[in-house]
Structures are given as structure tokens and as C-alpha cells.
Amino acid sequence: MPAQAGSRGSGGCRVKVSSIGYVCRDGIRNIWRNKMMSVASISTVAISLFLLGFVWLFITNVDHMVTSVESELEINAYIETSYTRDQGAELSEQISRLPGVATTSFVTKEEALIILNGRFGADANLSDTVGVYNPLPDLIKVKATDPDLVPGLAMRLENTAGIEMVRYGKGMVERLLQTADWVRRAGLLGLLGISVAAIFLISTSIRLTVYSRREEITIMRLVGATNWYIRWPFLVEGLFIGVFGSVMACGILYYGYLGLAKYLTENLYFIPLLSDMEILINMGLNILAYGGLLGLIGSFLSVIRYLRV
């Protein structure tokens, strides 16, 4: 049949409400008709959306970590051992008046040992190990009003008389942000590639259905089915492939993530994974929308190319 190009008329893309049932039924029937191809398309969509979800969760967590690290970011200024307690306390007092300093707290070496002991867990007893000699210096914990001021402040403290050494989470935030950025780039690039593959597979899958239904399409055209009545089942087929793929990806991500979060809280408590439902639901909805979009794009490409009605 010679194609009549540009068949988009003012009839719009509507079908009668009473026909929505037929259209959806035909769409699902189409998926069933090419089981193997549908499974391939659905899996590809699932993989690409799994990647999207993975990147999403990773970045959300890194962002969260950066924020919490930043809020805890403080400078440890170790006091020269020649200083007495009173001199140390005096120094702490002076530092607290510097611009950019929020609070200071003076930690004696005995307190520092207890804190350190606590970090190693209840089993360890450092006091016993080190005996009466405590090698730790007294220190001043300095909190800045703004994380950005930390490097400058640290430099200043280093040059202050009475401070032997300054330590802070130098580069940690930067490293976290860099990692997040890298994952974001690599993930999005991968996502783009797999999305293209998913669209291609969906479009091929729809093309096969168009081919296997060509007899029906001929009949529909001759009895006077509107273009959109003929097209919609194929778009619905694509949409469903996308949605099935998303649901699969969501399932894997949901159980995978919760499993990981549980494992980390039990074994690596210092990596706090976000586990509130809001993030997961938000991600799920986005994945669902993206999956549906992939399906529609894939089927639309086939419908306009191979279904000139």
C-alpha cells in the first residue's frame, strides 16, 4: 500500500473512551505475542533503570554524607607538651575569640585517652596497655562557623604559638564530592548508552508486532479504524514494556538497597546509609516515569516508521 505520509490530522490522537479497553487488551496481547522479544526489551529497560536507580541512591547518600561530615568538620589543635593545663585553657579561650570560630573545647590528654578507648570498643583497654604513661597531648577542638573557613583557620592555628600540630579532615569532603561527581558522570553516561539500547530493542519489538499484525492492520484500515485506534495498542505495548522493566528494576533496587543498608548498619556502622522510605518512593516514581517514557519513545519510533496508516 503506498504510504500516505503525514497522516496526522485534526482528528487528534484520541480514541473513544469505550475503546480504551480494546486498546489496552491489544497492547498486552502484543507483548504476549512476541514473548522472547518482549522479555529482552523488558530486561534491557530493567537494567538501564537499575543503573539509574543505583546512581540515584549513591548520589543521594554521598550528598547526605557530605552534609553530615561538613557539619561535624572540626579542627584538632594539639598543644605543645611544654604548655601547662592553665596555659592550654588560656589558649583555647584566645582561639574561641578568633573570627570564624564557632566554639572551642579544651580536651585534656586523659579525656582524649578515654575518647580513643571508646572508639576501639568496650573490649579494648588502652589505659592498661599504655600503663601510667599517656602519650597523647592535650588538644583544643575548634569548630568553624562555616566549613569553607576550615582550611584558612587551620593554617592560622598552625602558626599560633603553643600549637604544635593541627589536624582536620583535609581533603575528605573534596574526595567525597569528587567520587560522587565521578559516579554521577559514569553512571549517567552508562545510563544514556543503555537507554539508547533499550529504546532500540523496544522499537524492534514493536516493529515485529506491527509485522505480525499486518493482516489485522489491513483489515482495520479498510473497515475504517482511525489511525490512532490502530496506533495506540502499539504505544500501549511500548508503555507496558517500559513499565514492566521499571517495576523489575524497582524491585531489585528496593530489596538490594534495604539488604545493603541492613548489612552496613550491622557490620560497618560508620557508613550510614539513608533508609527512609521517602527516598525510595521518590526514586521508584522517577524510575517508573522514565521507564514509561523509554517505552513510549521506542514504540513511537516504530509506529511512525513502520505503521504509515
Partner: protein, 254 residues
């Protein structure tokens, strides 16, 4: 109802094929018309122009006073709902039952469920298929399959039925039965246009005959026979020798 004014149709391709040349004719509402002529004479092109699957290269095809060439794309499906099309090879959906085949067409023109439930049994009964509604096409005889094809064409209650060689795959007896159905449909006021090679049928029914040859209408005869021969009476018996043909020495072929 359908009017052709100096219609020519040229298929442009590597080789230009002129399928219809300067055709002017009129099909009135309620008519029964046979379209005859050898393969390649332009019969199919003529039917395709009527259902607006093709557009005339020159001249005008009018339906109910509307120029089909100016019809907008989105209007075409709604126009086609007035025309039922019957194929030589039936074009049934083999994986669907008799009922589903007809329902498929009904759904395609977006009839509601209640309309379908109401109309289908009626049509199947009219075509004598009510007892076969759950059978699959391959379980039907050729005649039954074509009746199913007609049932499908009738589902939207069209004002015109176009059949392309509807008896081409059927034996004479079954063909006669199919022709009776077309006559019955015609008696209800539906216009019927049948493109055919079935000489016996055309000669027997004595309906209007439009004969095409190489794209030209070479004969348009009321109560005509398949070939331009002289008949001495109306009972269908052949007088014998062909006398003066109206236009040229037409060869019948079948």
C-alpha cells in the same frame, strides 16, 4: 452516490503505468454493478479510488458530492465506515473465531460493547453462521468463509459493499450462494459493486455491467452480460452467435 469525472490514474514508478484512462461513470444509490474485464484492466484501481486508498491522477472521484481528493486524512476512516469491503481471499484472522472476526471489525470502528452484542448475532444469523460462531475459519467451508467475510463487511451497516473477486476461490454452486447473499443485501437498499471474472454469474444475474479494458470503460450496460453478446430473451438462455458488439470485438476471459 459515487461519480467519476474524467478520472485517470497513473502509477508513477520506474515504469509509468496508466491504470485508468478518462473514466466517467456514475453509481447510484441502491445499484448492483458488476465490474468486469481482464486482469490489469483497472478494476482494482477503480475500487481503490472509491475507498480512497488511491487518489486520481487527474479528474475527480466524488462520493455523496464530496471530492475524495480533497478529503482530509483524518476523515478517511470515517468515510470508509460507509463502505464494506469483501476480498477474494477472504482475509480472515485465522487465530480468531467467527464471532471474534466480526467483533474485531466492530471494535475497529469503535462500536460500543452493547452495540456489538446487539448487532453481531443479527449479522451472523443473516449470513447463516449463527451455529458456527465459535468455530475457527479453517473449520469452515469456502462458502462459509466468504460469508464470514461479508458479515465482517456488513458490521457497520455500510451504504455500499465493494467486493473484489468474491467468488474467485469458490466453486460455481457456492458462488451462486454468495451472489444470492449480495442480492439480498442489495434488496435492502445497499449499493453493491462486484469486480469479477465470474462469467456465468454475470450472465445469469443480468445486472448493470461496467467493462474495463486497458483502463478504459469500454461498455456500461444495464442488464448486461459478461461479454457484449446479444441475448434473445430474459430467461438466461444464450442465443448463440455474437452479433455486433457495441465496442470493438471484446474477448471474454475467465
Amino acid at each position: 452516490m459515487i461519480q467519476f469525472f474524467n478520472v485517470s490514474k497513473i502509477y508513477a514508478g520506474e515504469v509509468k503505468v496508466t491504470a485508468l484512462k478518462d473514466v466517467t461513470m456514475n453509481i447510484d444509490k441502491g445499484e448492483f454493478v458488476f465490474l468486469v474485464g481482464p486482469s490489469g484492466a483497472g478494476k482494482s484501481t477503480l475500487t481503490k479510488l472509491i475507498i480512497r486508498e488511491e487518489v486520481a491522477s487527474s479528474g475527480q472521484v466524488m462520493a455523496e458530492g464530496k471530492n475524495l481528493a480533497r478529503m482530509k486524512q483524518w476523515e478517511i476512516p470515517f468515510y470508509r465506515r460507509n463502505i464494506g469491503f469483501v476480498f477474494q481471499d477472504f482475509r480472515l484472522l485465522m487465530t480468531r473465531t467467527v464471532y471474534e472476526n466480526v467483533a474485531f471489525a466492530a471494535e475497529a470502528v469503535e462500536l460500543t460493547r452493547s452495540q456489538i452484542r446487539q448487532r453481531l448475532p443479527m449479522i451472523l444469523e443473516m449470513m447463516g453462521l449463527e451455529t458456527k460462531k465459535n468455530a475457527y475459519p479453517h473449520q469452515l467451508s469456502g462458502g462459509q468463509q466468504q460469508r464470514l467475510g461479508i458479515a465482517r463487511a456488513m458490521v457497520n451497516n455500510p451504504t455500499m459493499i465493494i467486493a473484489d473477486e468474491p467468488t474467485g476461490n469458490l466453486d460455481p454452486e457456492t458462488s451462486a450462494e454468495i451472489m444470492q447473499i449480495f442480492q439480498a443485501i442489495n434488496r435492502r437498499g445497499t449499493t453493491v459493486l462486484i469486480a469479477t471474472h465470474d462469467k456465468a454469474m454475470v450472465d445469469k444475474l443480468r445486472k448493470r455491467v461496467v467493462q474495463l479494458r486497458e483502463g478504459f470503460v469500454v461498455r456500461d450496460e444495464k442488464n448486461g452480460g459478461y461479454s457484449p453478446v446479444v441475448w434473445d430473451d430474459r430467461d438466461g438462455s444464450h442465443a448463440g452467435a455474437s452479433r455486433e458488439p457495441r465496442i470493438g470485438g471484446m474477448q471474454s476471459e475467465s
